[in-house]
Amino acid sequence: MAERAARLRARYGAAPWHLVVVTAALVLAGWVALRLAHEATAGRMLLWFLGAVIAHDLVLFPVYAAVDRGLRALARGRVTLLNHLRAPALGSALLFLVFSPGILRLGETTHLAATGQDQRPYLMRWLLLSAALFLLSAVTYLLRRRQASPKRSDSA
């Protein structure tokens, strides 16, 4: 018995309970996939499911990593400056990512039918919020620098 478990472990690559757990998740997903297969829009759902992974791993990540490299080049070793650029940039990008449907006005008619209002204000609000984040970061950066550097009045 123990020997058989050990053999399974060697051939499978993990303990038997691992097989049970992953199989359960895969069977559930397989069952859902079969159920949805007859839907006219099944292909689109699959496309969005896999597309979301590709969009994150192979588009969003490389893009933000590249932007970060750009910011590093810009800051040229001044790490505090770098981070005071990174934080508001991340905040602004996050807001865009989450609220892009409104910012880009991707649902003008349904938005109007549901709420009685248009999507016009969101772009300006996002720009203002982003500006506020950068401004806040710039102010705290300057304050930190003044605190860190020896006071001028002392040396006078």
Binding site: R11, Y12, G13, A14, H18, L19, V21, V22, A24, A25, L26, L28, A29, W31, V32, R35, L36, E39, T41, R44, M45, W48, F49, L50, A52, V53, A55, H56, D57, F61, R72, V79, L82, N83, R86, A87, L90, G91, L94, L95, V98, F99, P101, G102, I103, L106, G107, T110, H111, L112, A113, A114, T115, G116, Q117, P121, Y122, R125, W126, L129
Partner: protein
């Protein structure tokens, strides 16, 4: 072992962050482990709140994935406001945590060789379901609450079945990784990590999962900074989302969401879901010629608006809570549904089907369960905040029931059909 193809070493060496490692991954993972079950449970409760026992939860046909149906309670009246508000708000607030967690494990995507054993291959497949699942749920949810149906499939079907795929993969992932998570959290005390400055930040020792970079660069952010950045992002989203569940001036803080805006001044100036124009209800249908039809026990009667206003009026401060997560509490005045049931000759109804003047639309009728008809605050509202309902809020009459999802608080009501206990 087959030789590595060119480029694999280059990719491996290009992961430079000294922060990546089991500890940071475990910190983000713990936040998700605590919060995601709440998102899952409140999402499933949303399905139950629609009333699957009346075939009015979507998708209607879910096979084995049918949830235990129970009569959705009417008390506390803020129940659905809290469950669905939590679902959407928490779902949004967790986005930076999900992104941080994915950043922390991204090198694993390029693991070489890609398959070492059957166990690893199957596990990687469940990880595809896990990552695809959460991103899919977030994307469809975010698009839904912002009214951008760009995906071109049915939201309910996708989000409901997507939830099950995700939940299965999530459970498997937690079961498999939980011991690792505990070890990683114990490996360095949380408080001490948060006190470590950037200059003193060192990579973790090499780990069996290969999260720690082989050639880490110097730290440009401390671990406190990395946790703070993700936490700050979550806080930013929380501050910009919570307003859609608040009344008063704080509502405006939901600056980038449709429900942070008030449609206008006055007693009817609170958010509308589906305008009268969009519903296609015309003024001549709601004017002096409007009649409410009551059915029950084989009999039919009609009442005009003045007859309704002549009945006992009751006022209740109740939230209208949308399935899209926003909510607002208003003071509604009208006739108790149980008085109308008695009028129709069915004082103890098993259910009631409410129909709107609306001709099309998924929610032109809704079935209320017995407890939802009999609650003393369940109303056919004629007025709100002391004035007549506006056309957009359902004039001449709308349903408002404590803790009932907003989509079932039928507007422009034309008919109520009360089913007796024995009608079958």
């Amino acid at each position: 072992m087959p030789p590595k193809p060119p480029g694999v070493d280059t990719i491996e060496r290009s992961w430079r962050s000294p922060l990546r490692g089991p500890w940071l991954t475990a910190v983000y993972g713990t936040a998700l482990l605590v919060a995601l079950p709440l998102v899952i449970i409140t999402g499933l409760l949303d399905y139950v709140a629609y009333g699957p026992q009346f075939d009015q939860a979507f998708p209607t046909d879910v096979g084995w994935l049918r949830l235990p149906a129970f009569d959705w309670p009417t008390r506390p009246s803020w129940l659905f406001r809290v469950t669905q508000g939590l679902h959407v708000t928490l779902g949004i607030v967790l986005i930076p945590v999900v992104l941080g967690k994915l950043w922390s494990v991204l090198p694993k995507l390029f693991d070489w060789p890609p398959v070492r054993s059957l166990a690893q291959a199957l596990e990687r497949l469940t990880l595809l379901l896990l990552v695809g699942g959460i991103l899919f749920q977030i994307a469809t949810g975010l698009l839904n609450i912002q009214y951008s149906y760009v995906f071109g499939f049915d939201f309910y079907t996708a989000h409901y079945f997507g939830a099950w795929i995700f939940t299965g993969a999530f459970v498997a992932h937690v079961v498999i990784k939980f011991p690792r998570l505990v070890t990683a959290l114990r490996s360095r005390p949380f408080g001490a990590q948060l006190r470590t400055s950037r200059a003193a930040t060192r990579p973790e020792p090499p780990d069996p999962d290969g999260l720690v970079a082989t050639e880490p660069g110097p730290a440009t952010v401390s671990r406190r900074g990395a946790v703070g950045l993700v936490g700050g992002g979550a806080l930013l989203l929380a501050v910009l989302t919570i307003g859609q569940s608040l009344d008063g001036p704080l509502r405006r803080t939901a600056l980038l969401l449709p429900r942070g805006r008030q449609p206008g001044p006055g007693p009817n100036g609170f958010p509308v879901n589906r305008t009268v124009a969009a519903a296609g209800v015309r003024p001549e249908q709601t004017g002096a010629g409007w009649r409410l039809t009551l059915r029950g026990g084989g009999r039919t009667m009609t009442l005009d608006r003045s007859a309704l206003l002549a009945m006992a009026q009751h006022t209740a401060a109740l939230p209208i809570s949308c399935v899209e997560g926003w909510s607002t509490r208003q003071a509604w005045t009208g006739v108790r549904l149980r008085d109308l049931a008695a009028r129709a000759g069915v004082p103890d109804p098993a259910s009631a089907r409410v129909s709107s003047l609306e001709r099309a639309g998924l929610f032109r009728t809704a079935v209320l369960a017995s407890n939802q008809v009999l609650d003393p605050d369940a109303l056919l509202a004629l007025r709100v905040n002391g004035v007549d309902l506006s056309p957009d809020h359902g004039y001449p009459a709308r349903v408002i029931v404590p803790a009932l999802p907003g989509v079932h608080c039928t507007k422009w009501v034309a008919e109520i059909d009360f089913q007796g206990r024995t009608d079958g």
